[in-house]
Symmetry: D2
Amino acid sequence: MSDGIWRGFASDNYAGIHPEILKALSEINAGHQVAYGDDIYTEQLSGVVKKQFGNAAEAFPVFNGTGANVITLQAMCKPWEAVVCATSAHINVDEGGAPEKVAGLKLLQVETPDGKLTPELVDKQAWGFGNEHRAQPKVVSITNSTEYGTVYSVSEVKALADHAHSLGMYIHLDGARISNAAASLGTSLGAFTTDVGVDAVSLGGTKNGAMGAEAAVILNPDLVSAMKYVRKSGMQLASKMRFISIQLVAMFEGDLWLKNAQHSNAMAQELYKGIKDIPGVKVEAPQANALFPILDPKVTEELQKSFRFYVWDHLTGQVRWMCSWDTTQADVDNFVAAVKNELDN
Amino acid sequence: MSDGIWRGFASDNYAGIHPEILKALSEINAGHQVAYGDDIYTEQLSGVVKKQFGNAAEAFPVFNGTGANVITLQAMCKPWEAVVCATSAHINVDEGGAPEKVAGLKLLQVETPDGKLTPELVDKQAWGFGNEHRAQPKVVSITNSTEYGTVYSVSEVKALADHAHSLGMYIHLDGARISNAAASLGTSLGAFTTDVGVDAVSLGGTKNGAMGAEAAVILNPDLVSAMKYVRKSGMQLASKMRFISIQLVAMFEGDLWLKNAQHSNAMAQELYKGIKDIPGVKVEAPQANALFPILDPKVTEELQKSFRFYVWDHLTGQVRWMCSWDTTQADVDNFVAAVKNELDN
Amino acid sequence: MSDGIWRGFASDNYAGIHPEILKALSEINAGHQVAYGDDIYTEQLSGVVKKQFGNAAEAFPVFNGTGANVITLQAMCKPWEAVVCATSAHINVDEGGAPEKVAGLKLLQVETPDGKLTPELVDKQAWGFGNEHRAQPKVVSITNSTEYGTVYSVSEVKALADHAHSLGMYIHLDGARISNAAASLGTSLGAFTTDVGVDAVSLGGTKNGAMGAEAAVILNPDLVSAMKYVRKSGMQLASKMRFISIQLVAMFEGDLWLKNAQHSNAMAQELYKGIKDIPGVKVEAPQANALFPILDPKVTEELQKSFRFYVWDHLTGQVRWMCSWDTTQADVDNFVAAVKNELDN
Amino acid sequence: MSDGIWRGFASDNYAGIHPEILKALSEINAGHQVAYGDDIYTEQLSGVVKKQFGNAAEAFPVFNGTGANVITLQAMCKPWEAVVCATSAHINVDEGGAPEKVAGLKLLQVETPDGKLTPELVDKQAWGFGNEHRAQPKVVSITNSTEYGTVYSVSEVKALADHAHSLGMYIHLDGARISNAAASLGTSLGAFTTDVGVDAVSLGGTKNGAMGAEAAVILNPDLVSAMKYVRKSGMQLASKMRFISIQLVAMFEGDLWLKNAQHSNAMAQELYKGIKDIPGVKVEAPQANALFPILDPKVTEELQKSFRFYVWDHLTGQVRWMCSWDTTQADVDNFVAAVKNELDN
């Protein structure tokens, strides 16, 4: 890694701020605004979110994805209730135990082949209703695109939403990379959320070009009244909220969210084309902006001397290569060349 | 309130971003940086904080003051321990119960005349050591400047730190407005923290001109190892941390923190001069950047039609008027004229 | 203190099991019963509790008073809500922080002259509804008889219940010594609970002659559905519940609760008569089964060499002397003689 | 089920109190004892536990097994740490989420073939040390005998203890049925706990003939200081503790624990002999006091009209039949006849 400016394939949250978002921040800086969300830009965001997710949608801007997930799940659950999720879900493996530690939530985990739940998989944990010895299943939480780069189709989300509701449960969608999912599906953001009955979305901005901006987007009106309280007691209420809201306005008012996601998805396809036929690389075609190749750990080790990226499964040698809004074709070509070079040795 | 650009006296977190901080954000935007704090600007902040608070100081950037307070107190306390604080402390009255709800902390509260604890006041709650029926007192938490705009002197903090330590307790300083305290005292930031034995500081940036940037600054090395875990499980770990760290670098590398605080303190003095002799206003001289006048509620009501500010005590009619880094002399003059006008009626 | 059998005035929970309760335990021991409350004795208790508290009353037997209080308050509160109580309340001072640590409850405390809240005192903390910066007041919790041995009258409880309800809040009555209160008031148990609108009672058995048996008694039907879950997740669900339930049946089916409480109250009157005129003893007449005399600490120290009892306030020299169901007139006479002897020196 | 006295095979906690334990309760009832554990019978228990588990052992009597487990695990874990356990562990499936909800503990679950962990299975979750995104693995928790009636051998526990310690982790043994394990192994209680490095044991009394008595038995001195606090704040501190302690004294002072467990284990063998060759019953030989046969659900349904027992796995038709200290040969014969009768139809 150089001391100067560099870009890699470790994560989309290694990237900086998209220029349009940075510009928006500076354009709304003058003067005072009421703190804690009673500002005009948060009001503007409200309209933007309704445009994307329908008139019932209510947006609650927060600092980060863990915050959006945990407070939303807390709003959905009474203290004795629980959340069904994939074993690989971010809430289960990558939030330092925050769901359990901040909100007392029990996560009822299901192994999945590809990071995606199905109604049948949900049923492995959605049982014991009315039996107080069991933390009561109340939410199905899915991630789209998933932690394994896969994408739920509209009908797959609908089947899960219908199933959850038939059990008296809610469905939550962790949308840290929801824009990548929509770009992959070629649909609106509402098509696989509002339109198919999702109750709440953690709307991601940061990984797609914001500085740090996420929102809990509540689609089920029953959940709205809890949100301002769980956001505050969950330490996710920004004082100068205008600067979070405006990032999301800049991203979701027009099509910046889509252009950025289409770009990072396309770069992942380019990367896939470049490496799929290299002997020693075992990889499936990306559905969103990440590849999960399996490599000889020695190759991984050598590559990591020049490129930072994460090993995803120590047992299998699976790694993660991820593209972001600022990945260039030259970045891809350069990285492909390095992989080739390493595997030629 | 106008639809256009305006400034008022409601709170220092109604103000925007100081231009130098906004500039710093844009200057470091290019290219990738490792996420979650392993970036070069967070490393730079580490040096800046050591310069301000001494070589043992370790900085953990977080999103907001509630987050800084709660995770720091959690790092100080075992699950059965408790925090002695003023009844008026922000952690007690203005954090939505986050200390109790996120960290299970019991707050052992003491009434104070002016928001300031003393060793004698601490003793009203610091007892019962070894008795498991009582949540065990472990931390004395003070705020400087306080929620009532008062300022602890260096020797007052030292007396509290010595007292806490003599009881086997830690001392935490909520420094949401630490720069205003330092400006008021005419000392360095370390003079009333590191130098007198404070164990940890919640270092405020947001209210003094940042967009949204605070840090838990740990001065007692025994507390360091817990911090990265409580920050993560407390949902306060920023992915693109460089953009939080650089705000604090821009503020604390040179003297921006001091200039901004001196300015807002000075504006509070100007406001005091303008109103202290108006009949119907009962007010004490400000020690930092806020005044707490007592007004006839009818006057308050009239003034609030044109100026947003908070009632601090419904029973007494006490209100809060606060200056910020961007308050101008014209703002003050204009507001004083309005107060005069109202009280002449 | 002797190595043999002794009785003192330290606490009513130093006493053993009333013979009728011990007998009941052994009489229902034969054979199997369904665990976790689906046994015939718990069903029997259900009827007994309805007889005492009205047909809507539902009983949830638990292990101890802290458990009864915390799970009942949790059933009343959403995670962001809070409980108004006297500073001297058992939940605040004597439960090791369990309300905060187990249930995340913030306690909004009010100083009282005698351990008793009033509507006016409640109002000191029951405010800020709808403001997410403040943990939302949802329950008024009172203790009858109080931690200071005082007794709320029927009309005092009614005034508090009406006030709580007018604010959209619940009222909870910690009845660890509810039988002593009823005996003192000369009323039924329902007269100052069900009949005046109390929403839930922590029904005490242990201090009044049980081995270890308390129950959450829910009077407001809206709260019932939560109870089995908070009891289980609060670790208060007994497997062999029949042995807890039968203790409460034995106590509340007839008038054992009343006889025991009348006796301990009467013994406290006898003790009062014996000591009230001793020079050096400052004491008010007991309202229930405890006296809170103020003594010279040296006298206290000497007396404690022969009799175990607790200092209630180190600053004033106040101590607590408590009678129990098994206190005898001879115990009282013997103790009075010792006090006299000590104060003659 | 009859209205009169009956016994079944649903659970060992359907059984009553062993006469020797009931007798002990009544023998120590006279007079006062200091509350909250400072009584002479709790002191006696201290000696009894040291005799069984070695001189370093410290006993903390509690109300129930969930309580013993959760407070012990809390004493072992900092708030950001986690517990590795079998997916089938009682703490994971049968405690209503108490570990997560009371103590914020994340349970890192491993599927097992038979309810038993191995070092290799532990390694599936014991990783990520030092990475704050992962709740930090700190305890390996095993149950002996397990929730599937299997028994860890001495060397199996030792291998797990050694492995846990080599990773800087603790090992906890849920001994709700520890006596059945010891009876099965033919060893002392210390042989597979203290002697092989187990750090803490949840010592079960209730299922083996007590009324309701368990204890956290701490074998690693580093954990002792936390215990009195987590017991109190975990709502597991009994006021009249003498009546819990004496149950455990009666059980563990002599060999009542062993005789009861040998009896229930032997009855399970008798039941196995009676049913193993019945066509339509698929069952393995019991290792402790429970059988887990697989039956046609219709047969189960018919049998449940006369005998209460639990279905253990709805998918496979597996049920649980459990013997207790009071199961008689006639009970077994009667039940075997019923099973035969049902399967003959």
